[in-house]
C-alpha cells in the first residue's frame, strides 16, 4: 500500500536526526547495527499534499512516511488515542483522520488541507514527513506500548522471561519485542531486545551447527525456533558474536578499540604510580559507586513520577466529584481514600535496599517530616496549576486531603526510618 507520494527530501529530519544515517527513519541505530536489517524502511514515503496548507498545525495527515506498514494503528480516531493526552495543544497536533481523505488505509493522499502552511515546497513536505512520523509514532503506538508494557510489567522483567522471544504480542504484526518502542511493526525494521536466555539459546544453536564460523543465520534461526525472531536479528547478532570472540585479548568488542589505546595511555600514568592491582581496584570502586548512585537516582525518579500520577488521579477524582455534586466537600474527602489502598501497594514493591536507600537520602534531603508538609503543598500547587481548569476550592480540598492521608509513599518511608 504505497501511497502515491513522491519521495521528498527531509531537511527537517536531517536537521534533527543525529544518527549517521540521517535520511532514514530515526530508529536506525549506529554503524554497528546491521544496516541490512534496517534500511529497508529507508524509502521515504511522503504524502502528496496538494496545495492547501492551512496555517497552524491544525491537523496532520496520518501518513506514515518512514514506516510504511504500520497502518492499522493510524485509523484510530483521534479521540481514542488522544485520551491519555487530552490536551488542546496536542489535540491539534494529533488530530488525524478527521481531515483525512483516507483513501488507502494509512497512506493518506490529499489531506493537504490540514498541513502546515509554508511558502517553500520543501518546508511543506518536511512537515508531512515529520508529521507522519509524529502521528504514527507517538500517538497510536504509544498507547499500545503503554498497554503492552503494562501487561509485561505484570509478568516481571523482560530478562526473567523464558528464552522465548519475549514479546507480548502487542500487534498483529508481532515482529518486535515487547519493550520496543514500536515505531514500526514491519518485519524489516525489527528492534529486538536480546536477553541472556535468548543468547544462550543462540549459543546452543551455534554450537550444534559447528561453531560461529560454520553456523549460518538460517540454520541458527531454525534451530532456535523462537517466535518472532527474524533472520535479520540472527544475522546481526551472529556478527556481533563473531567480533566479540575474535578479539578477546586486545579489547572486548569493537566499540572499545579506540578506548583501549587511549586507556593504555592513561594506564601508564595511573598505574605506574600505584600499581595495576590497586588502580583496578580503585576503578572498580568508583564504578560501583556510580552504579549504586544511579540505581538510587532511578528509584527516586520513579517514585517522583508515581506521586505525580497519584496527584493527578486525586485531582481528577476531585474534579469529577466537584462536577457531579456541586460543592459538597465532604464527599470528595470520602472518595479520596479509595485510590490509596491501591497505591499503598506500590511502595511495598520496592525492596529493602531501596527503602533503606531512600531513608538514607531522606535523611539528607528535604523529604523529612518537617518539610513534608510544605513540599506537599508546593507539589500540589504545582500540579494543580498545571491542571488549568482549577478552582481554588478543589485545590484546598486536595491539600487538605494530602495532609490527612495523602502521599502514602512519603509517609511510608518516614515510618520506616
Amino acid at each position: 500500500m504505497s501511497s502515491p507520494l513522491p519521495a521528498l527530501t527531509s531537511p527537517f529530519k536531517d536537521k534533527y536526526t543525529t544518527l549517521p544515517s540521517s535520511s532514514s527513519s530515526p530508529s536506525i541505530a549506529t554503524s554497528d547495527m546491521h544496516v541490512s536489517a534496517l534500511t529497508h524502511v529507508q524509502r521515504p514515503q511522503n504524502p502528496t499534499f496538494s496545495s492547501q496548507s492551512s496555517r497552524g498545525v491544525a491537523s496532520l495527515p496520518p501518513v506514515n512516511s518512514s514506516f510504511p506498514q504500520s497502518t492499522a494503528s493510524l485509523n484510530h480516531t483521534p479521540g481514542n488515542e488522544d485520551a491519555s493526552w487530552s490536551l488542546d495543544q496536542l489535540q491539534k497536533f494529533l488530530d488525524l483522520p478527521e481531515n483525512a481523505a483516507a483513501p488507502a488505509p494509512n497512506q493518506l493522499a490529499e489531506s493537504g488541507t490540514d498541513v502546515m502552511a509554508s511558502e517553500d515546497h520543501d518546508k511543506k513536505t518536511d512537515w508531512h514527513e515529520w508529521a507522519d512520523d509524529f502521528i504514527n509514532v507517538p500517538d497510536p503506538d504509544w498507547s499500545r506500548v503503554l498497554d503492552d508494557t503494562n501487561v509485561l510489567d505484570s509478568k516481571l522483567k523482560v530478562s526473567k522471561q523464558q528464552p522465548q522471544f519475549h514479546q507480548n504480542q502487542p500487534a498483529p504484526h508481532g515482529e518486535f519485542s515487547s519493550n520496543t518502542y514500536p515505531s514500526s511493526t514491519t518485519p524489516t525494521k525489527p528492534r529486538m531486545r536480546w536477553t541472556p536466555e535468548l543468547h544462550e539459546a543462540f549459543l546452543e544453536a551455534v554450537n550444534l551447527l559447528g561453531g560461529s564460523e560454520r553456523a549460518t543465520p538460517k540454520g541458527i534461526l531454525k534451530l532456535m525456533n523462537v517466535e518472532g525472531l527474524t533472520i535479520y536479528h540472527v544475522k546481526s547478532h551472529l556478527q556481533k558474536y563473531r567480533t566479540a570472540r575474535y578479539m578477546p585479548e586486545s579489547s572486548e568488542g569493537t566499540s572499545e578499540k579506540k578506548v583501549t589505546s587511549i586507556e593504555k595511555m592513561k594506564s601508564i600514568d595511573l598505574k605506574t604510580s600505584i600499581g595495576i592491582t590497586e588502580a583496578l581496584r580503585m576503578q572498580m570502586e568508583v564504578q560501583k559507586q556510580l552504579h549504586e548512585q544511579l540505581e538510587i537516582q532511578r528509584n527516586l525518579q520513579l517514585r517522583i513520577e508515581e506521586q505525580g500520577r497519584y496527584l493527578q488521579m486525586m485531582f481528577e477524582k476531585q474534579k469529577k466529584v466537584e462536577n457531579e455534586k456541586s460543592g459538597a466537600p465532604s464527599s470528595a474527602l470520602d472518595e479520596a481514600p479509595s485510590p490509596l489502598p491501591g497505591l499503598k501497594h506500590l511502595p511495598c514493591n520496592n525492596d529493602k535496599s531501596d527503602s533503606e536507600a531512600l531513608q538514607q537520602d531522606h535523611s539528607r534531603t528535604g523529604i523529612d517530616p518537617g518539610n513534608a508538609g510544605s513540599k506537599n503543598e508546593k507539589g500540589t500547587a504545582d500540579v494543580s496549576m498545571k491542571q488549568k481548569a482549577l478552582e481554588t476550592e478543589s485545590t484546598h480540598h486536595i491539600e487538605k486531603n494530602d495532609d490527612e492521608s495523602g502521599f502514602p509513599v512519603l509517609k511510608r518511608a518516614r515510618t520506616e526510618k
Binding site: A29, G56, S159, V259, M265, Q289, H291, R364
Partner: protein
Amino acid sequence: MKFGKRLKQQIEETLPAWRDKFLSYKELKKLVRLISSAESPEFGKADAGAEFMYLLNNEIDKFNAFFMEQEEDFIIRHKELQQRIKRVIDTWGPGGTKPSEAEYKDEMAKVRKDMVDFHGEMVLLVNYSNINYTGLAKILKKYDKRTGGLLRLPFIQKVLQQPFFVTDLVSKLVKECENTIDQVFPVEVEAEIVKEQREAITVAGKGIFRNTVAALLSMQEIRRGSSTFGHFSLPPLDLPDSDLIHSFQLNSPITTV
C-alpha cells in the same frame, strides 16, 4: 542552564562513539523558547511546537536504538568473558591442561583489566540512560512551564516504559560482573593500607575510568540544590566516599580524532 552545561561536559568526556547519542538538550530548549515567544501566533508557535514533538520522539528512538544495541553487545561480551576466564583457569591454572604460573598470572591480569573496563562500560550505559531521562524530564518541565501545556506527565509516563529507561538487565549484568570479579580476584588486605596513603591521582586521557569519575561528579553537581527545587526534583547526591572521587583530578579533555 546548569544541566545543559553538565550534559555538554559529559558528552565531551564520554566515549567517542557515544558522543552523538545523547539528548539534544540545547536544541529542545531552543524550540521551547521559540514556542513560547513565537511572534506570529499560529504559524510560528505551532511550527516550533510540532518541531519540538518531532525532535522529542526522534531522540527517544535514538536512545532506544543505541541502548538496545549496546545491551546486546554487553550480553555477548559478558558471556564471552565468563568463558574466557574458565578457559584461562582450565588451561594455565594449577589444575589445568598446561599449568603455568607465569602465563596464568599474565592472562588473568588481562582478563581482570578487561572485566573491570567492561564493568565500567556497562555502568556508563546506565548513566547514559539516566542522564538522558533526566534531560527529558527537565525539558518537559520547561515546556509545560513555558507553554502552559500539560505534556510532561503523560509523556514522562511513556518514557518510563521505553527500553532505554528499563535498565534492569544491564544492572543485573553489572552485579554479576562484580560478583565474578570478587570471586576470581579477591581483594587482599594490603590494598586497604594503600588506600589510606592514596594521593591525588591524575586521571589522564579518555578512558572508562575517567568517564566514570566524570559521570559521578556530574551527577553530584546536577543534584546539588537547584534553584527550582520542587516536588519533582531530586535531592542532593549522597556520595559515601566523595573524597575518593574528588581526589581524582581530571585533566582537560584531550580532543580525539
